[in-house]
């Protein structure tokens, strides 16, 4: 079943077409990768899928229904979560609180309840804390739970972003270059993590430059070049596509 469908998606920045006439369909439970040279429009696409940018044209359907969300928090409420290529950690909180903040959508409480700390809220907070700890364990950060976020090493922050995004229980999780800047053993860890997500039944959109990672975990690959779709299909098919080799892989082999 199609979880997300885009039709004629486009984004212009003062005449520069960052994304143009993009059609694609992400199936439920897939690891859907988006690759392409620098400036191909990958991050712009993620920003369109999370409401950070408003499309110049085109439409989105989530689980068969037109996506009516406008502000990013409404995209989140619709079930789309993401991580950021350039880390967007809440550095003014502990690692655990970062993940707890990620549960915001499931922890609605009124101002008065928050001010008075009602017993009901106290219980909800305990549950939230426990869930956040479990998520930190899942991404391998249990040891850092109570550490201030700004004391964590770079590789751990990348995982913290994933734990925080998972806390919202998204139907669709967008990962923006989760392996960028990591060493080979850390990348293997991310590889395992993404496979763990797939096992949890989470649909993943992966934007990544590391071809080994992409080819290993993806069910479907979309190749962008200058904001347009260059090719798409199973990883093996894309890898053998002469246009892709010329635009992207060919250049990378020199």
């Amino acid at each position: 079943m199609s979880l997300l469908r885009a039709e004629g998606l486009a984004k212009e920045f003062g005449g520069v077409r960052a994304v143009e006439g993009l059609d694609f369909e992400i199936r439920e439970g897939q690891v859907f990768s988006v690759i392409g040279p620098n400036g191909a429009g990958k991050t712009t696409l993620l920003n369109l899928l999370t409401g950070i940018y408003r499309p110049s044209a085109g439409r989105l359907w989530l689980a068969g229904r037109a996506l009516a969300a406008r502000a990013p928090h409404q995209f989140a409420a619709a079930g789309i979560g993401r991580t950021f290529q350039n880390l967007q950690i809440f550095f003014n909180m502990s690692a655990l609180e970062n993940v707890m903040a990620g549960r915001h959508l499931h922890e609605r409480c009124g101002l008065l309840a928050a001010l008075a700390r009602t017993p009901r809220l106290a219980r909800a907070e305990r549950d939230c804390r426990r869930l956040a700890r479990e998520l930190l364990e899942f991404v391998g950060l249990a040891a850092y739970a109570d550490a201030p976020a700004d004391s964590l090493p770079y590789g751990a922050l990348k995982r913290l972003e994933i734990a925080r995004a998972l806390a919202a229980e998204p139907r669709l999780l967008l990962l923006d270059e989760p392996a960028a800047g990591l060493n080979p053993s850390e990348i293997r860890g991310i590889d395992g993590l993404i496979q763990g997500l797939a096992k949890r039944g989470i649909t993943v959109v992966l934007v990544e430059h590391n071809m080994k990672l992409v080819m290993g975990v993806s069910d479907h690959v979309l190749v962008l070049d200058y904001g347009r779709k260059l090719a798409e299909g199973a990883p093996e098919a894309v890898r053998g596509d002469p246009r892709v080799i010329e635009a992207y892989l060919g250049g990378a082999e020199h």
């Binding site: 502000a71 989140a76 979560g81 903040a101 915001h104 609605r108 409480c109």
Partner: protein, 305 residues
């Protein structure tokens, strides 16, 4: 919790060190300013939104309650509630467009708002008495007028402890985490489902209501008010108290308010140079302890252990 108990103990034991009515008066002013700063810290320290106009809300509370009680004969408790609500309402109406602005623009907009309120208070002398000020009836509870330094001390002390308790609860709740999150990264907060505009507005309205309440209490306590407390300079004083004590630290706000309220009162030599002293304190804080007094001391204590 330990911090709250310590604060309650300080409030309970302080009278042992207060020798005369003048000392009580300073303690009451410290308490009232601390209440404003705890509220302002929710906005500046936790939500990361700068306001240079909070003396305006303080002024609305003070003059609102004074005018309703003195000119329209409202019972002071009702005028106090109405003036607090008026400050909150104004913050809500003005905050919706203003809080779309970020950083310097938000600071400039709140600065303008504060100045407008201050000018209105100074010029509408039919109601406010203009620059000469106006006298305010005492606060009455069930027919008994609240008077005397000691009674006011206990009222303000209890309110301060309550405000700190509410603030600590809020910060450690989903709402408080949302405020801190949008300070840490607004885009990440939004993507986590946090309605940043709504939460900024909430912090703004809440801090304005607290400033309004403290303003109204100050007016009834002093029995006489002048536009001085509603001016831009007082807004700056409030911000300096928060920054000096420690942003994103509730007890920092209390300590900042205590030190910077008591010092100029006790060292009368500062009186004429008050603004110079405040400016100097601000600069030295930024250079030597950018996180503020209480967080810096807490960090040093952790390191020694």
């Amino acid at each position: 919790m330990r911090g709250l108990l310590a604060l309650a103990a300080v409030v309970l034991l302080a009278p042992l060190a207060l020798a005369n009515n003048y000392h009580y008066e300073i303690a009451i002013l410290v308490g009232l300013n601390a209440i404003v700063c705890v509220g302002l810290n929710l906005l500046i320290g936790y939500a990361g939104q700068v306001s240079l106009g909070h003396a305006g809300f303080f002024g609305i509370g003070a003059y609102g309650s004074a005018i309703l009680a003195a000119r329209y004969g409202w019972p002071p408790l009702a005028s106090l509630a109405a003036a607090t609500a008026a400050a909150a309402l104004l913050a809500w109406v003005v905050g919706r467009p203003i809080l779309r602005l970020r950083g310097h623009y938000l600071a400039m907009a709140t600065l303008g708002l504060g100045i407008i309120i201050s000018i209105v208070i100074t010029t509408e002398d039919r109601y406010t008495g203009g620059p000469d000020g106006m006298s305010v009836p005492p606060l009455a509870l069930a027919g008994f007028a609240l008077s005397g330094e000691r009674a006011w001390y206990w009222l303000v002390g209890a309110l301060l402890v309550a405000t700190v308790w509410l603030s600590l609860n809020l910060i450690d709740s989903p709402v408080g985490r949302a405020l801190r999150a949008l300070h840490g990264s607004e885009v990440a907060a939004e993507v986590a489902g946090i309605d940043s505009a709504r939460h900024k507005l909430l912090a703004f309205v809440l801090s304005a209501a607290i400033a309004g309440l403290a303003g109204a209490l100050t007016a009834h306590y002093a029995g006489f008010i002048t536009p001085g407390k509603a001016t831009f300079l007082h807004s700056i004083e409030l911000v300096v108290m928060v920054v000096f004590g420690g942003m994103a630290s509730t007890f920092g706000a209390v300590v900042g308010a205590a030190v910077l309220t008591a010092l100029p009162q006790l060292l009368t030599v500062f009186k004429e140079y008050e603004m110079v002293v405040f400016g100097g304190v601000m600069m030295l804080t930024m250079i030597f302890m950018p996180t503020g007094l209480v967080p810096t001391l807490a960090m040093l204590a952790r390191r020694r252990r």
